[in-house]
Symmetry: C2
Subunit: 174 residues, 2 copies
């Protein structure tokens, strides 16, 4: 059974949706995806670092559309490991695990890895929204479209823009 | 540079010392190492599961004698990764990272892995007190003596009973 590493933020967790809500609460203006496309998250939202370092933030993020059904299907066919670079924000760790339990209760604690370097983990396939994580991975790589990566060209990773596309690629070919 | 996986509880964190304190606070009796040798932690301390699932517990554990100096030396010679099966206890995650920062500030967030399955991680050497983690590891394995493993014989792992012994083995041969 092939092992697949699935990222949390920007793949399972729709962090932009939460950023748009918080930006609107603070400024009164609702941004659109096109307003922040091609920018890093910290460039697009000047308070982003304050938001993500606030205890409780990661518990409030909505799930990515289609991710619950999609991950459940993958979990039946692959050795799924959900992996987040969470040690960058120590106060996020417990929130992130409780969030996984809230929304993906079929993923056990044995399938979770919170770390600061994804290249430590042995796997066959990686789904992530950040090229920095995918570029050094030796297996099959899928980049999940998010505003910060939408204009990146000539990537050596397959681009997927929805969980339906992930299912089409990985469930037919499992 | 060889990568070395270093366990937290029972290797860097002297959990038995904390268990003895809590047992004495609750019962008035101070146990000795010989009272709990050969028993699993949960057999030796009937409230152990309550203690380790209490938020804040892992922040209060003393460091293992010699571990700060020893890990600092290893960190100069090896690619050190500190690794804990922490997702078994979600409320421990943030406490464990803050504890690392309290006592081992020279270990960065990029060197930490909190997971539920150590066999996911790619490394050359593993130091752990639990044979269940060491048995399936394909590299060099060191078992750190703790009361629960002290009577185990015929292990295929090198036994070390102090951080001085770890230094003798790994610093001379690095």
């Amino acid at each position: 059974m092939k092992r697949i590493l699935v990222d949390m933020d920007g793949v399972l967790a729709d962090v932009y949706s939460r950023f748009f809500d918080l930006h609107e609460q603070e400024t009164g203006t609702r941004l659109k995806l096109s307003d922040v496309s091609g920018m890093l998250e910290a460039e697009a939202f000047k308070n982003q670092i304050n938001w993500v370092t606030t205890p409780g933030f990661f518990r409030t993020v909505p799930v990515m559309e289609g991710s619950v059904e999609g991950l459940n299907k993958l979990n039946a066919l692959y050795d799924v490991v959900v992996n987040s670079m969470a040690t960058e924000f120590p106060l996020s760790l417990t929130d992130k695990q409780l969030w996984m339990h809230d929304h993906f209760p079929f993923i056990s604690w044995k399938q979770l890895v919170f770390c600061g370097n994804k290249s430590l983990i042995r796997a066959d396939i990686m789904i992530d929204d950040h090229p920095k994580n995918l570029d050094n991975f030796t297996g099959e790589t899928l980049i999940f479209t998010q505003p910060h990566n939408v204009f990146m060209k000539d990537l050596k990773h397959k681009r997927v823009s929805s969980w339906q596309e992930i299912e089409s690629l990985l469930i037919k070919n499992s």
